[in-house]
């Protein structure tokens, strides 16, 4: 979320995912392994692409399942989510590719922060006001904070540019 805020404020340059993909593909083209041999470059590239999200899922399943003794339903839920994500990815990857990358990262950051806060509170035994309905409130809260952080970062950058000595 921090990076998305900084990109939206113009402090970091925006990603061009298509160009990054093309450059990475070009770099990896000379690394093909022999036919039949284990393709370690492909293995490491795929691992790097999914290890963070995979570990997040594992942590969430363990946190939710172990805390209430529901490891099996939590695991089944994660498996069902995997099937759903693969299906949705195949079905709507074209329109998804048109969503601005930074807007999507901002939204994902807001959701992760809100769910992270909620689950942490649950973990230490807090009673959230309105129970599960606190989640939309947290989402709204982080959305507002993110938008304010963008405004503040822009104002700070403008002030710094105005006070910088002329070249």
């Amino acid at each position: 979320m921090r990076k998305a805020v900084l990109r939206a404020a113009g402090i970091l340059t925006l990603h061009d995912e298509a160009a990054i993909f093309a450059a990475a593909a070009r770099r990896l083209q000379g690394c093909e392994s022999r036919p039949g041999a284990l393709d370690t470059v492909a293995l490491l590239t795929s691992l790097k692409a999914v290890v963070v999200e995979g570990l997040e899922v594992v942590f969430i399943v363990i946190a939710l399942g172990a805390a209430r003794g529901n490891l099996l339903p939590a695991g089944l839920g994660a498996a069902a989510a995997l099937v759903l994500v693969v299906f949705l990815g195949l079905a709507i990857y074209r329109p998804l590719a048109r969503v601005p990358e930074n807007a999507m990262k901002f939204a994902v950051g807001v959701l992760l922060s809100a769910f992270g806060c909620f689950w942490f509170g649950e973990g230490i035994g807090l009673a959230w006001p309105a129970g599960d309905l606190a989640i939309p409130g947290l989402i709204l809260g982080f959305l507002v904070v993110g938008a304010l952080a963008v405004l503040q970062a822009r104002r700070q950058a403008t002030r710094a540019a105005a006070s910088a000595p002329a070249p």
């Binding site: 921090r2 404020a9 048109r98 601005p100 807090l126 809260g141 904070v145 503040q152 970062a153 403008t158």
Partner: protein, 90 residues
Amino acid sequence: MKRLEAAAREVLGLFIEDTFLATAVLLWLAACGLLVPRSGIDPRIGGVLIFAGCAAILVWSTAKAVHKATAHRPPAAPDRALSSDWKGHQ
């Protein structure tokens, strides 16, 4: 050895984007986890504390990043950068 170090740095970089942000959030959550259940604070206020602390750390971290970036180079035009992100894809 250098390759191992580079690999370790790469893996760590997948999880930690900014050391200050990661450390501050962990410390804040640890403090909340230790103190809120034992201090007799209303659990509803505990939730607000968790949210407010994380939000404040995020704003602080972005402010630090802006300060660092603007100390070394003139900033990109904020309005243009934002509009190219949002309007260019509509």
